[in-house]
């Protein structure tokens, strides 16, 4: 019988020895200071502008239909046309929607003014709208529940603080922000396990999310050489370098191969 207790003891020890770890690791992303009086803003008069588009090259991927039968309210919201996954959305002109474009490196080391405006993330038809948003670190996200059903919002950042909150129908909007730069923060609803959104949190104002025309515009950049990164949920990231002078207006296109 003593051997049985030894075996039980060994297994118990294995649990606590093997179940550690999993701690979040800090990345090299810079922490943004709170808005201050001397914080910089984009110089829209003398600064440079980078515009471009994110083009998809290849056969247009067919997105799968989401099964919302677990919740009749969600299913009824898409009676007319079943909702497809938004993992890859290709616009009619062959460009990519919901690509996040941002200046990854090259900006002078300074604090940028955090906008007082909020960025809306709505839950409507049991989908996040929009699927991808960009905010500045410290800027508020206005999280709405426009559905007649319950949701929980669970962002899963690696650098910022993770949180998980319930939002019943008709409840007040939730204001949340992330203090540190992090590209990208996945968001999910664990009541409706198909609901996914992504938030790009950047320590400066030079970022954009492509829309129905697949274009982006980064305005008011100081002269310099920049690394521009594009992120797409399925296809990952791409980078290009570009040098701009004062009042320059340059074009920079990205091509995502399918």
């Amino acid at each position: 019988m003593k051997k049985i207790w030894i075996a039980v003891g060994v297994m118990g020890a294995l649990t606590f020895a093997g179940c550690g770890g999993g701690e979040k690791t800090e990345t090299k992303q810079a922490e943004t200071a709170a808005p201050a009086g001397g914080a910089a803003t984009p110089d829209l008069t003398n600064g440079a502008t980078i515009t471009g588009k994110v083009v998809f090259d290849g056969a247009k991927p067919v997105m799968k239909t989401i099964d919302m039968s677990a919740n009749p309210t969600c299913m009824n919201a898409h009676k007319a046309a079943p909702q497809k996954s938004e993992e890859v959305v290709i616009n009619d002109n062959g460009t990519v929607k919901y690509a996040f474009v941002w200046v990854k490196a090259g900006l002078p080391d300074q604090t940028w003014q955090v906008p007082t405006s909020t960025v809306e993330l709505n839950q409507i038809g049991c989908m996040y709208q929009p699927h991808v948003i960009g905010i500045m670190a410290g800027q508020n996200i206005d999280i709405k529940n426009s559905d007649p059903t319950n949701h929980n919002i669970h962002p899963m950042p690696a650098v910022n603080q993770e949180w998980n909150e319930s939002q019943p129908p008709g409840s007040a909007d939730k204001m949340q922000s992330f203090p540190r730069q992090e590209v990208m923060v996945p968001v999910k609803c664990q009541i409706h396990n198909w609901m996914r959104a992504y938030i790009g949190v950047v320590s400066h104002p030079f970022y954009a999310v492509t829309g129905d025309d697949g274009t982006f515009s980064l305005k008011g950049l100081p002269p310099g050489t920049y690394t521009i990164q594009v992120w797409q949920e399925k296809y990952g990231t791409q980078e290009q370098q570009i040098t701009v002078g004062a009042k320059d207006s340059k074009t920079l296109d990205f091509t995502i191969k399918g």
């Binding site: 019988m1 051997k3 049985i4 207790w5 030894i6 075996a7 039980v8 060994v10 297994m11 118990g12 294995l14 649990t15 606590f16 093997g18 179940c19 550690g20 770890g21 999993g22 701690e23 997105m63 799968k64 989401i66 099964d67 677990a70 919740n71 309210t73 996954s85 993992e87 059903t149 319950n150 929980n152 669970h154 993770e162 949180w163 998980n164 909150e165 319930s166 019943p168 999910k188 664990q190 009541i191 409706h192 396990n193 198909w194 996914r196």
Partner: protein, 306 residues
């Protein structure tokens, strides 16, 4: 309690049959709770209820989507918690063997710790380390209830003292438990599947060693033969289910949500893994037990005799 030469301690005052049946029911319910937990994880519903111990601020939350899985798991956990504590208390009053009483309280302690861990997971937003510990502690709790069940069947003859199976069954149980840790780490995204696959090779080897050795040495001993055969069958089924779970995960990777084929393959993998671990514990218990009954009625059959 008396001692006989050449044998270990013998219990003449056996616990009532109701206690034995209750122990079996509790063990089955514990396995069901493990399955309920696996369903929560596979449906990605672990944080569908963001508060604890209440559910959306109520006793009963709105039943929709992932909340159903999370709430069902909480209710099942409460039921199993109560069952295990009742089992421990019942054994305390009616079970003459001290080690059995200790097993009962150990199971009660794990189930209570498991409840606290589950609450901490919700409050601390599901840290991987706690999720893995929760999965591991569930296996320990189930293993303890299996040990209690085996302990309640004293009619099972033990291995002859001169025909020991060595450490193989114990090592198989340890290897299978280690596999549950690795499996939980994979499920909760703490590591890739490679260590778990490597661990499967090792655990299968230990299970084969234990099972085949027992079969070769104790073929005439029906309980040992059955336990060893069960361990081998469950281990091989588990390897197959592991492939099925991995393949279903890969096949549904592009789907926007957890698909039924993946859910059922992974849940079956967890359930059979628990059963294989339980079979290894049962085999170890039967091999090492020393409390052979002397009463003829008990020797003929546990349930009938009791």
């Amino acid at each position: 309690m008396i001692s006989l030469p050449g044998s270990s301690r013998i219990c003449l005052d056996m616990p009532p049959p109701g206690l034995r049946r209750f122990a079996v029911s509790t063990s089955v319910c514990t396995l069901m709770l493990v399955v309920a937990g696996a369903l929560v994880t596979s449906n990605d519903a672990s944080l569908a209820i963001s508060d604890w111990p209440l559910n959306w601020g109520k006793l009963v939350p709105p039943m929709e989507g992932g909340i159903r899985y999370a709430f069902a798991h909480r209710v099942a956990a409460a039921v199993v918690g109560a069952l295990v504590v009742i089992l421990a208390a019942w054994q305390q009053s009616r079970e003459p063997r001290a080690w059995m009483r200790r097993l009962g309280w150990a199971a009660a302690a794990t189930v209570l710790a498991q409840a606290a861990l589950g609450g901490a997971m919700v409050r601390l937003i599901d840290p991987k380390s706690l999720s893995i510990a929760h999965a591991c502690l569930a296996q320990i709790c189930f293993g303890l209830t299996v040990a209690i069940v085996v302990g309640h069947f004293p009619s099972l003859p033990g291995a002859p003292a001169n025909a020991s199976s060595g450490p193989a069954p114990t090592l198989a149980a340890c290897a299978l438990f280690l596999q549950t840790i690795l499996g939980a780490a994979v499920r909760h995204g703490a590591m890739t599947a490679v260590p778990h696959i490597a661990g499967a090779v090792v655990a299968t080897a230990f299970a084969m060693w234990a099972g085949l050795q027992v079969l070769m040495r104790h073929m005439e001993n029906a309980p040992l033969r059955r336990a060893a055969t069960l361990l081998l069958a469950l281990t091989f089924s588990q390897v197959f289910l592991g492939f099925a779970a991995y393949a279903s995960l890969a096949a549904t990777a592009d789907d926007p949500q957890p698909m039924p084929v993946m859910i059922w393959a992974t849940v079956a993998h967890v359930a059979v893994g628990s059963l294989a671990f339980g079979a290894a514990i049962a085999l170890t218990m039967i091999i090492f037990r020393r409390d052979k009954p002397t009463r003829p009625d008990l020797a003929r059959g546990g349930m009938a005799g009791a």
